[in-house]
Amino acid sequence: MDWDALRLSLSLAAWTVAILLPVSVLAGRALAYRRFAGKGLVEALVMLPLVLPPTVFGFYLLVAFGRNSPIGQFWQEMFGHQLVFTFEGLVVASVIFNLPFAIQPAQRGFEAVPRDVREAAACCGMSPLAALWRVELPLAWPGVMTAMVLTFAHTLGEFGIVLMVGGAIPGETRTVAIAIYDRVQAFDMEAAGLMAAVLVGISLFTIAVTYALSARVGRRLS
């Protein structure tokens, strides 16, 4: 059992969710309620990571943040090492490739809030921020919740992009998914099976707890 790898996977998933939660709420809301030129393009771009194969996407990320890119060079100057092949690099990649999972369900959640309820909130004297916190979020909550669960679970399982951008460095970027692959390659089926079982167990537990919470919230509303 590679505890390092498990720790890395959970940590990566947690950081990704933490960063994407405000993005999910704000971007999901903006896409749900605003009409602007190029909105269709933005929505398509958000969905892009879903459509691209992970290796292709990983490759593009490597080119965009690698040592030959402006971002990579800037990072090198600031911190003395590369952004890619580090945990931070994984977090950056993870945030990007989870965008569709984080934004789309949240957007649907916000879209489900009836228009006249939102208008009523404004006419009750609530500023847009107050309306978001007191009316829209309590009603769109299940969508945001789904978005975060999907993001968490997807990150735990992501392989191709993590491998490309992370390099599978033990203790730094070798997540559980990659460690399992490693053990299989070493013909160590026992270890691989154990880690796989633990991963599945954690994922199921997280999802179950989240949906139980979500159902509680849903019951309160009806």
Binding site: E119, A122, C123, V135
Partner: protein
């Protein structure tokens, strides 16, 4: 504290309207779907901005396209009741009402309960919208709009989503509530009878333009307006005073030209009210008839006769200073040989005057 509205637009729908509502007054914007009445209402609330518009309340400018002032809805002290109630589903009735209160309110909970009591929902404070009927939800919506202490109260077809019985009940409650409504009130409706029942002044809108405007009585006599609104289900509101209640379950009202009986109502003698008399339930007679079961016979004078498209005509009958409408066939008119200026008697069954057709006078 008056509300002044001017709006002009070409797209998405053509609009050209202007009106003023005084405090305590209820103005009805009447028109068919798509006439632009809801759009006008929404521009008062700040939910839509016409190309050219001005909305001023009590000296404050809410919207002026010329000077670029455009306050968002949350900065206009406006109370609005939506067609589909638009209550916050995750809050109780009391919480919904409190949501509209400004921050500085002293005892919001107490105030919320007071408002709920005002709309006849005492005891419903802890209910959620899902556990309320349509009529109850609308009352909560009204209480919520009032909680805002609005400078203008807007009602957007507030009764079209409830059934007829509930609607008529709510009409009565609105009338009773008028005493507490000391701000300008604008009601949008496609139902002429509702407008006539509730409003002091009416503005008839067709294709975004004002067809007719004025007091309710004036508009209801305007042939152009009547034609636009359709002649069906017309009624007149006749002012009367409660005289006495009789032992056999009736109440006698005194009108300008005679008594009017109806099934007993809850009102003290001396109270002034208005009675709705449906035009199609009025029978006309030249001479005062005898031996009829109908007890209500009012003398009057033919003021005007307005022809319709079908076989019916509308006869305006002056009863003292007020008016009753009678809808009869062209044939009947010809048979009676009625003309403006003739004396005529309007006959009405007691049972035709429903309790719900009585409104407290303003």
């Amino acid at each position: 504290m008056s509300l002044d509205v001017m709006a002009r637009a070409e797209a998405p729908i053509p609009l050209a309207a202007e009106f003023r509502v005084d405090p305590g007054e209820l103005l009805a914007l009447v028109g068919h779907s798509g006439s632009g009445k809801t759009t006008l209402l929404r521009s008062i609330a700040g939910l839509w901005r016409p190309e050219e518009a001005r909305v001023r309340v009590n000296g404050d400018t809410w919207l002026d396209t010329e000077t670029g002032v455009d306050l968002p809805p949350h900065r206009r002290r406006v109370g609005i009741v939506f067609q589909n109630f638009a209550l916050f589903p995750h809050m109780t009735a009391a919480q919904n009402v409190m949501a509209a209160m400004a921050r500085g309110v002293a005892a919001p909970r107490v105030e919320a309960e007071r408002l709920l009591e005002l709309v006849n929902l005492a005891g419903y404070a802890e209910r959620r919208p899902a556990a309320l009927s349509g009529g109850q939800q609308q009352r909560v919506a009204l209480a919520r709009a009032l909680a805002r202490q609005p400078q203008a109260l807007l009602l957007d077809e507030p009764f079209s989503a409830v059934d007829r019985a509930t609607r008529e009940k709510l009409h009565g409650e609105i009338v009773a509530l008028r005493a507490h409504l000391n701000m300008p009130v604008v009601l949008v409706t496609h139902d002429v009878n509702e407008a006539q029942f509730l409003a002091d002044r009416m503005v008839v809108i067709e294709k975004g333009r004002v067809l007719s405007a004025g007091s309710t009585a004036e508009v209801m006599s305007d042939p152009a307006a009547l034609r636009a609104m359709g002649l069906r289900e017309l009624a007149a509101m006749l002012p009367a005073t409660v005289a006495e209640h009789s032992a056999d379950g009736l109440t006698r009202l005194d009108t300008a030209t005679g008594p009017l009986y109806l099934p007993r109502i809850e009102a003290s003698p001396g109270a002034r009210l208005r009675v709705r008399i449906m035009a199609h339930e009025v029978i006309l007679s030249r001479a005062r008839p005898e031996g009829l079961s109908a007890q209500n016979i009012l003398a009057g004078r033919v003021a005007r006769i307005v022809a319709g498209e079908g076989p019916a005509v509308l006869v305006h009958i002056a009863v003292g200073e007020d008016e009753i409408l009678a809808r009869i066939t062209r044939r009947a008119l010809a048979d009676l040989g009625l003309a403006p200026g003739d004396t005529v008697h309007a006959i009405l069954k007691i049972m035709s005057v429903a309790r719900d057709h009585v409104a407290g006078a303003v």
